[in-house]
C-alpha cells in the first residue's frame, strides 16, 4: 500500500513555528484583501475565488498541531467579519474542512500537487455544503435551486485551479523564511 503514510517529519523549532505563523497571518490577510476588493471586482461577485479556504486546506495538510486548528478557526472567523451577518458560520465550516483534510492526510500520502488540488476541491464542496446547511438550519431558508449547486461546483473548481499557485507561493515563502 504505497498510499499509506509511513513517515513523520521531525518537529520544527520554535523559531521556525513563529516564522511559519507570521507567513500564515500575512497570507490570510492578503487573501482576504484580494477576496473583498480586486477579485470581487473581476468576477462581479458571482463567483469569488476562495483563497482563504485554500490556505485552510494547506494548514490541514501541513500543520498537524493545535496551531493549525486555531488557524483554521481564526481564518473562518476573519471571513465571518467580512461576510454576511451570522458570526460563526465560516468559522464552523473552516474548522470542519481543516479536520477533514487533517484526517485524510493522516491516512493517505498527500505530498504532491495533485492531491492538494483534490483536497481543495473537496474542501470547497464541503465548506459550501456546511454553509448552506447551517444557513438552512439557522435562517430557515426554504427555497434552494439548482443554481446553489452550480455555484458550489464552480467555486470548488476555481479554488482547485488556483491551488498550485497559492501552495507554491506558501512553500516558497516558507523556504525563504526558513520555516519549513
Amino acid at each position: 500500500m504505497s498510499l499509506l503514510q509511513t513517515t513523520h517529519a521531525p518537529a520544527p523549532s520554535i523559531g521556525a513555528e513563529i516564522r511559519a505563523a507570521a507567513i500564515y497571518v500575512i497570507t490570510g490577510t492578503l487573501a482576504l484583501l484580494l477576496q473583498t476588493t480586486i477579485l470581487h471586482g473581476l468576477t462581479g461577485g458571482r463567483i469569488i475565488p476562495d483563497l482563504v479556504l485554500i490556505l485552510c486546506v494547506y494548514l490541514g495538510l501541513h500543520e498537524h498541531n493545535i496551531g493549525g486548528a486555531t488557524g483554521a478557526f481564526l481564518l473562518g472567523y476573519l471571513l465571518d467579519s467580512f461576510s454576511g451577518s451570522l458570526v460563526g458560520l465560516h468559522a464552523f465550516a473552516m474548522t470542519i474542512v481543516y479536520l477533514m483534510v487533517y484526517l485524510v492526510s493522516r491516512r493517505l500520502w498527500m505530498d504532491n500537487a495533485l492531491s492538494g488540488v483534490a483536497m481543495v476541491f473537496l474542501g470547497s464542496l464541503l465548506k459550501g455544503l456546511a454553509v448552506v446547511i447551517a444557513l438552512a438550519a439557522y435562517l430557515s431558508i426554504d427555497r434552494m435551486s439548482l443554481g446553489v449547486a452550480q455555484t458550489l461546483f464552480a467555486e470548488a473548481l476555481l479554488a482547485a485551479a488556483l491551488t498550485p499557485v497559492v501552495f507554491g507561493a506558501l512553500g516558497w515563502a516558507k523556504r525563504v523564511a526558513g520555516g519549513n
Binding site: G45, I66, A69, F82, G84, S85, R143
Partner: protein, 312 residues
C-alpha cells in the same frame, strides 16, 4: 491521560473550535450581530489595507476605462445613465406623492419632508463570500454611523448598517438572505417582506396568492419597519408564480440599486443625531447644507435640477 491528550491534540482542539463556532452561530442566530468579540477588531485593522487596495484598484480601473478602453464615450455614457436614473427616481417619487395626496395624507407627507442629515460614504470592499451580500464603507462611528441605520443610493434602498468600528462600517444589503424590509407594491398597495435569495436577487415574502402582483410592478418601502421612510424606491417585480398549493405566491424583485456597481452611498442619520455627535456636526458644518438631489429621497424632488446628477 496526558499521552492521550498529546496524541489527539488536533482532534480535541478541532472539536473545541467546532463547539465554539456552533456556540457563536446559535447565539448570533438569535441576536444577529451582537456577539462578535473579534469582528470589530478585524474590521478596524483591515480597514486601512482595504482602503489602500480599493484606491489602487480604482485608479487602475479609472485609467483603463477613461483612457484605454473608451476615450470620451465612457464619460458621456456615465452622464446619460446618471441623468436617466435621476429622472426615473423623481418620476417614482412624484407618483408616490400624488397617491398620497389622493388619500388625504398631506400631513404625513409634510412630516416626511422634514430635513434629515445624511453621511456620504464610499464603498471600500465587498462581501468575502458568494453566499452573502454586504459592503464595507469608509465611514464609521466617528462620523456618526451606528448599527441599524438605513443606507441608500440615488437609485433606491441599499440596506442597513450591520456593524461598525471607529473608522469603518458594514452594510447588510437587501439582497442578503438574512435581510428583511417591509415593502409595498406601489400599484396595488399589497404589503410584503423583501428578503434576499441565496442566489442573486430578492424575493417578496408573505404575499397572498390572491393578491394582485404583476411583473413590472414597482416596489417601494412601506415605512412600517421603523427604519426606512415610506415611499423609497426598492425595485421592480421581475417574476411572479402561483403554485397549486400554499398560501403565498412567489415573486422575485430586481432591486433598483445595483449593489455590484455602487461606489458611493448615503447613510441616513436619525433626526437630531448630529447634535449628539460633535465630530459629525463639525464635518456637516464644513461640508455645508446636504445635497438636495441626493437627499430628495426624504421629500419631494428639488425644484432646481442639480445639473441632472452630473458630477456626483
Amino acid at each position: 491521560m496526558l499521552e492521550f491528550v498529546r496524541r489527539n491534540r488536533v482532534l480535541l482542539s478541532s472539536g473545541f473550535f467546532l463547539l465554539c463556532s456552533l456556540g457563536l452561530l446559535s447565539a448570533n442566530a438569535r441576536q444577529p450581530g451582537r456577539i462578535d468579540p473579534l469582528g470589530r477588531i478585524f474590521l478596524e485593522v483591515m480597514a486601512p489595507f482595504q482602503r489602500l487596495t480599493a484606491g489602487v484598484a480604482g485608479v487602475t480601473r479609472g485609467f483603463w476605462n477613461r483612457y484605454v478602453l473608451l476615450v470620451g464615450v465612457q464619460e458621456e455614457n456615465d452622464h446619460l445613465r446618471t441623468r436617466l436614473r435621476e429622472l426615473e427616481r423623481r418620476g417614482t417619487h412624484q407618483s408616490e406623492m400624488e397617491l398620497m395626496n389622493r388619500r388625504l395624507k398631506r400631513l404625513l407627507a409634510l412630516e416626511r419632508e422634514l430635513p434629515t442629515r445624511a453621511v456620504a460614504a464610499s464603498v471600500m470592499a465587498r462581501d468575502a463570500s458568494v453566499w452573502f451580500q454586504s459592503l464595507t464603507l469608509n465611514k464609521g462611528e466617528v462620523d456618526g454611523i451606528q448599527t441599524g441605520m438605513p443606507v441608500m443610493a440615488p437609485e433606491g434602498v441599499v440596506g442597513l448598517i450591520s456593524s461598525t468600528s471607529l473608522h469603518a462600517s458594514r452594510v447588510l444589503l437587501l439582497t442578503d438572505p438574512n435581510s428583511g424590509i417591509d415593502v409595498l407594491v406601489q400599484r396595488t398597495r399589497v404589503r410584503g417582506i423583501l428578503s434576499g435569495l441565496l442566489e442573486q436577487g430578492t424575493t417578496l415574502k408573505y404575499v397572498k396568492r390572491s393578491d394582485d402582483v404583476r411583473v413590472g410592478d414597482r416596489v417601494i418601502t412601506s415605512g412600517l419597519d421603523g427604519v426606512f421612510s415610506k415611499g423609497l424606491p426598492v425595485g421592480r417585480v421581475a417574476q411572479v408564480s402561483r403554485k397549486d398549493r400554499g398560501l403565498f405566491l412567489y415573486a422575485e424583485v430586481t432591486p433598483d440599486a445595483d449593489a455590484s456597481r455602487l461606489e458611493e452611498v448615503l447613510v441616513a442619520l436619525p433626526s437630531g443625531e448630529e447634535l449628539r455627535r460633535p465630530a459629525a456636526l463639525a464635518r456637516a458644518a464644513e461640508a455645508g447644507p446636504p445635497d438636495p438631489a441626493a437627499l430628495g429621497i426624504y421629500g419631494p424632488p428639488a425644484p432646481a435640477a442639480r445639473g441632472e446628477g452630473r458630477g456626483r
